[in-house]
């Protein structure tokens, strides 16, 4: 299953959409594998759009944190956009909003 679709890429950025309504324990591991396959280290930044996701559980949050750790080890970034209110509130609850760079849309992300 391809849950991640490339939206656009340039020299520094790989912009991808997550095609999931539920991001949970059933797809967290697969998500991590797919994202890491796309991460070719040529791009300095992966921008992941979650605007189709209604629900994220702790397993998927763990996969996001694990992916960020991996990307950072190559001096690259994982940026999130398109979080709905519940997901924004969940990030704030456990303070992952201070760990990830989060913007409203692809267009709001500052140029690299």
């Amino acid at each position: 299953m391809n849950m991640i679709k490339i939206y656009k890429e340039d020299q520094n950025n790989l912009m991808v959409d997550l095609k999931l309504k539920e991001a949970n324990v059933t797809n967290a591991d697969e998500f991590k594998v797919e994202l890491m396959k796309l991460f070719d280290k040529a791009h300095k930044r992966i921008i992941l759009n979650l605007n189709q996701v209604e629900y994220v559980d702790s397993s998927f949050l763990g996969a996001l944190v694990s992916s960020l750790k991996h990307v950072i080890s190559y001096n690259c970034e994982l940026v999130l956009v398109g979080l709905c209110k519940d997901i924004t509130d969940l990030f704030a609850l456990i303070r992952l909003d201070k760990v990830f760079k989060i913007y409203n849309t692809f267009n709001d992300v500052p140029a690299y």
Binding site: Y55, G62, D86, L90
Partner: protein, 179 residues
């Protein structure tokens, strides 16, 4: 006159049923919430708590079914999740010798949060969380990757786990105060 409502929901622990399970419980809560209580913040808390309890059942319980008992009155929402799966016993904390009531045992820790289990008695623990609010922008390498207990503990006003040694029943209980 005070009013109250309660209902029971039995779910398969097949993971892809979770969003449907959540909707059933949220519908029940919304239909029975006192009129003077704002729905949005209550919905958020119920949603994340039930999600994580279901997630726990899917990942760890090892039982085909899990039962949620929800009750609401004018002042509280109670959420209980029960199953006959594996006993919750991280770090063997319920089996440690010399753990008397009031003993606090660390379950997880990162640079921001420490989650503790406080022994209430031989079969019950209460979860609590200590947050370091002085850490503004933590390094992701110092952040844990397991958030389930943390999410429930931070959302709940009271969160406990109880094990029945005779029947093997596991019971997670959450209290949310409405006022």
């Amino acid at each position: 006159m005070p009013r109250s409502a309660s209902s029971e929901f039995v779910f398969s622990t097949v993971a892809n049923s979770s969003i449907i399970s959540l909707k059933e419980i949220l519908d029940f809560v919304n239909n029975n919430l006192p009129d003077n209580i704002a729905k949005v913040p209550v919905n958020f808390k119920v949603k994340v708590i039930v999600s994580e309890l279901l997630n726990n059942a899917i990942k760890h319980a090892g039982d085909a079914e899990t039962t949620f008992h929800i009750f609401i009155d004018d002042e509280t929402i109670g959420i209980q999740k029960t199953d006959y799966g594996r006993r919750f016993n991280p770090n063997n904390l319920l089996s440690m010798p010399g753990t008397s009531p009031g003993t606090r045992i660390k379950i997880s820790e990162d640079v921001i949060h420490k989650v503790y289990a406080i022994i209430e008695n031989q079969s019950m623990i209460r979860f609590t969380c200590v947050e370091d609010t002085t850490v503004s922008f933590p390094d992701v390498l110092d952040i844990m990757e397991h958030f389930g207990l943390l999410i429930i503990t931070k959302s709940a006003d009271k969160f406990t786990y109880e094990y029945d040694y005779v029947t093997g029943l596991n019971k997670f209980s959450v209290i949310l105060r409405l006022n």
